[in-house]
Amino acid sequence: MAGEEAWGMSESTPILEMRKINKHFPGVKALSDVDFRLFPGEVHAIMGQNGAGKSTLVKVLTGVYKQDSGEMLLEDRPIRPDSPLAAQKLGISTVYQEINLCPNLSVAENIFVGRQPLSLGRIDWGQLNRRAVEALKRLNVSVDVTQMLSSYSIAIQQMVAIVRVLDVSSRILILDEPTSSLDEAEVEQLFKVIRKLRDDGLAILFITHFLDQTYRISDRITILKNGEFVGEYRTETLPKLDLIARMLGKELSEFSFAMAGEDRKKESQKAGQDARSLLAVKDLGLRGAIAPFSLSLDEGDVLGLAGLLGSGRTEMARLIFGIDSANQGEILVKGRKTNIKAPRSAMLAGMGFCSEDRKSEGIFAELTVRENIVLALQGRKGTFRYIPKKKQLEIADELIKSLAIKTPGANNEAGQLSGGNQQKLMLARWLATNPIILILDEPTRGIDVGAKLEIMELILNLSRQGMGVIFISSEFEEVIRCSTRVAVLKDKVKIAELSGEQMSESNIMHTIAGGR
């Protein structure tokens, strides 16, 4: 395809136009009169908080949902795909945030399943594998394509997912949070490919929560808020702070986070020596998961764990909370040696843990918000010291209010809440147990800016009340903003602990780059 020609066309005619799209679910208006245009040869980002309607819009486009009203035009022809398959046939392909591949098939097959090369009516495995190797080469990935997908890291799996849709003769490529599991080098690798594809004339719809990435890759931005269209902008003409303000619908002055970081540093210096120790970990380790490490957490401490994906942050948290059992070392809670062999014993010792994977390790989608909240408390009290329903409601209502969880009521199903509110729900569950130590693994992942701020604010408040928090985030900026100290991890080893003035993004990066 001639890139120039495609680009020339794009100025006049969009390849895709969505007009006045409306979609509502029982009780929620997900989209109202949303417009969207996509030109060939551009990377178009859709921005918005959770619940803004981004994913609903994409799902309408890919045929997962049917819009209630409004029309979609693909090259001026109306389309109405009724399934992802139908959308793909129209040239609209998607890479999802959660890797939607089959772990039991080989890498090569994952790329080609459904359209395997045939010869004489049978699948030509030789050709299939050769083509898979070639296709992966375009992303500079070289792996044994005959191995099962599940034997590779999430990052590789993500690459495979992208290669898969690239291989389809698609005219529109939708990337739904493709970078959330990739490290910086991999992101850059991906962006290279995206730019190349854009220059080849592909229309790319890009969804991410990373503002930086949006600015690095996108040509145009459409902002949605509460299911409504806010505006469409060329990226270079939209300052970052404007973008945030439009997404949140708030005034710039309302942002306290710019300040928070500085406060925190001061606080951390002030807190100093006289705080009581909540948690002391000595030489805790598990072969193959994480090298022996020590750390301590005092009252009011927020210990940030910083490191790249796969550096051992989650493994560390799991070991402390007793999800995996250590084969060496010991844990002291409030100075007393505590045998933590399961999450239950960690909980009884006063810990709480919010998993990074809230869908499969956190939320009970079919239980009510109330039940989700009281579950850990009830577990702590034991099976037979039942909390009466009335009391449960009181606890739930209080936490819903204090954490500003958006739900129609405490007796609604938790699965209906948005990602950010589910995250808060997990926090609420642990707060109900009055923990002294809270471990938060990526509590800000996959949620919108507003919710992120709220959660970070919450962490600060809790620590001010004396709680010890271990905070894990992929964004060093967030870690620094919240933490009193930062432990830096690399390749399953804790390599440094930074505090006070040492805590800065560049310092962390330098530590990771240099330390070993």
Binding site: E98, N100, L101, P103, N104, L105, V113, D357
Partner: protein, 334 residues
């Protein structure tokens, strides 16, 4: 050697040990004919298990196969003996009936998102009940073609022979192997078993494939029913009672994971041979109660599930973890 082939090797080893042990312990055990007998006596089971392998690899289950087998013995014998239809008509009719039943169940399961366990359980009742609607008595088959198929033997090496049914079973297995390995349909079955949600989003024809899988299982059950009538020359409403569990046990012993996504027809064939040889061993032994057959098979299933967990901790545990991560309760919520 790939780790995913390990269960098959274990099954193979198990079979060889059993065959070797039997040969040492019993006179007459070690003979080509005794080996061929395994195929003669289990041809229908192999055919059932081929269909069942497809279903289980896709992550489903089909409890109706034994009953559908019985129904096809009833229908074919009744059409032959009472309606005096020609075999040229009877065979297609019976095959079409089995396929249609499978299609019906697959349609319900897929279109209305109903649990395969319940729908095929109801299918078990339905087909069994229909047997009694056809006739409550045994129907003998006296058709010449059928008798020919029952009595015919094909000599292989020396004086050893197999029945024509063995060729049907082998053809079905070969066809199954080809379909599973070399067709898009077959690969889609694995994809659905690996992660159904993903398969939908990858644009695979999940609806059609799943319905087709149950139709295929129904077809195999009907064909197994015909082969079974070659074997017994009768239609009887109680034929194949509990055979669904034999087929499932065969598939599991063959190394297919009941969680779906992992499995191989060669393993299923070996599973069938192991299943058959247990029975032969117990007959040769001569004093063990039949209930021991059940206990041994129960024990084997137990051992196999343990083995799979031990051998595949690396692979399948990671696989399970990934799956759990990606599509928690995908079935329930979709």
């Amino acid at each position: 050697m790939k780790a995913r082939n390990l269960p098959i090797l274990v099954t193979l080893a198990l079979f060889l040990i059993m065959f070797g042990g039997g040969s040492l312990a019993f006179i007459g055990f070690f003979s080509v004919q005794n080996f061929l007998n395994l195929f003669i006596d289990n041809s229908y089971l192999l055919i059932l298990a081929v269909g069942m392998t497809f279903v289980i690899v896709s992550g489903g289950i089909d409890l109706s196969v034994g009953s559908v087998l019985a129904l096809s013995t009833m229908v074919s014998s009744s059409l032959l003996a009472k309606s005096h239809l020609s075999p040229v008509l009877v065979i297609p009719i019976v095959l079409a009936m089995g396929t249609a039943l499978g299609l019906f169940m697959g349609y319900l399961i897929q279109t209305f998102n109903l649990p395969p366990f319940i729908i095929t359980l109801a299918g078990l009742y339905l087909a069994r009940g229909l047997c009694y609607v056809v006739s409550i008595d045994t129907i003998a088959i006296t058709n010449e073609f059928w008798k020919g198929a029952a009595h015919a033997t094909v000599n292989l090496i020396g004086n050893n022979f197999v029945s024509p049914s063995v060729f049907i079973a082998v053809a079905v297995v070969l066809a199954g192997l080809f379909v599973m390995r070399y067709t898009r349909f077959g690969r889609n079955v694995y994809a659905i078993g690996g992660n159904e949600q993903s398969a939908v989003l990858m644009g695979l024809p999940v609806n059609h494939t799943k319905i087709a899988i149950y139709a295929l299982s129904g077809f195999c059950s009907a064909l197994a029913g015909i082969v079974f009538t070659f074997y017994t020359l009768s239609g009887y409403a109680l034929h194949g009672k509990g055979m669904e569990l034999d087929a499932i046990a065969t598939v599991v012993i063959g190394g297919t994971l009941l969680t779906g996504g992992v499995g191989n027809l060669l393993g299923t064939v070996l599973g069938g041979l192991v299943y058959g040889i247990i029975q032969v061993l117990i007959v040769f032994q001569g004093t063990l109660n039949s209930w021991w057959t059940r206990i041994v098979i129960g024990f084997l299933v137990f051992v196999f599930c343990l083995l799979q967990r031990i051998f595949e901790t690396g692979k399948s545990a990671a696989l399970a973890r990934e799956r759990a991560k990606q599509a928690p309760k995908a079935q329930a919520s979709s």
